[in-house]
Point group: C2
Chain length 169, copies 2
């Protein structure tokens, strides 16, 4: 099994690639019924008369799926948890039933706050591609990630942690 | 019934307020099982040992829910569809079972592209509050929205539309 990357293992410029996953009409409808029930996300027939000419995935679904791909299948794999702090998202192309999505991410910044020995922030530019290698979604994200517990513990002996935790979910 | 606001009816500085909705543990788990299955989103017991001390909603769920609130219950109400083009999101506080969320939005920019008579872009700053009036989520969004069909039709007589449609879903 490949070693999972903790915050300590990441480097600016490092690239991660995910596996791909195919999005079905049922996936699109099921997500949207709960979270984004606009007609072009939930009704295949009605969607034909929309500006999209057919069913398309909610942008929240493609955003979440992109991060899920990165968490579950990045090569090299990331150690969890991965907690979103900020995301700057642009939706570039519709995602339709049968499209296969994959993700490429590049680490752009790493910060180890002094007041926490066990965690820090990693920024990444994330591109989501379809099966035609078209970019459907870009995200610049700032993520709360964790250090390797063994290395964080040894560094804790040298630093004085301050009580409190990040407020972010 | 209150008249729904088309793009033509929006003004910079205009404020919209949504109703509130309460998020249950089941809502959180159900969303996360499909879209963000990290343990602090799907497992109430295990989540107690996480940095959050309990179950919290996925950030994708709170983002989607905020826009859904705006689409379904804004006062004054918005005419749909509302299609996300860009979103700059910051997650400020965890959302826990039993929290009630509501949204306030302010229109910051309106653009009518010359090549389309029926649609344009509206930018908004959107704040999502919990029942303690704490901001849990902020979003600066750029949304594709539509003009009142009757007014767009009359304006079409004066303008020459260019074929093509926005690529965005």
């Amino acid at each position: 099994m490949t070693k999972k990357l903790y915050l300590d293992d990441l480097r600016v410029g490092q690239r991660l690639r995910s596996k791909s996953v195919t999005v079905s009409a049922q996936d699109i409808i099921s997500f949207a019924r709960e979270s984004d029930p606009q007609y072009f996300h939930v009704d295949e027939e009605a969607a034909k008369d929309s500006m999209f000419g057919g069913l398309v995935a909610s942008g929240w679904q493609t955003g979440a799926l992109s991060i899920k791909l990165l968490i579950e299948s990045a090569d090299p794999p990331l150690a969890g948890p991965v907690i979103g702090v900020e995301a700057d998202i642009a939706w570039k192309l519709p995602v339709r039933p049968g499209d296969s999505l994959r993700v490429e991410a590049e680490v752009t910044r790493i910060v180890f706050p002094r007041r926490h020995v066990d965690r820090g922030f990693v920024s990444m530019n994330i591109m989501t591609y379809n099966q035609r290698d078209e970019v459907v979604l870009t995200q610049s994200v700032k993520i709360l990630a964790f250090r390797d517990p063994s290395r964080a513990a040894s560094s804790a002996k040298r630093e004085t942690p301050v009580a409190g935790s990040f407020p972010v979910g």
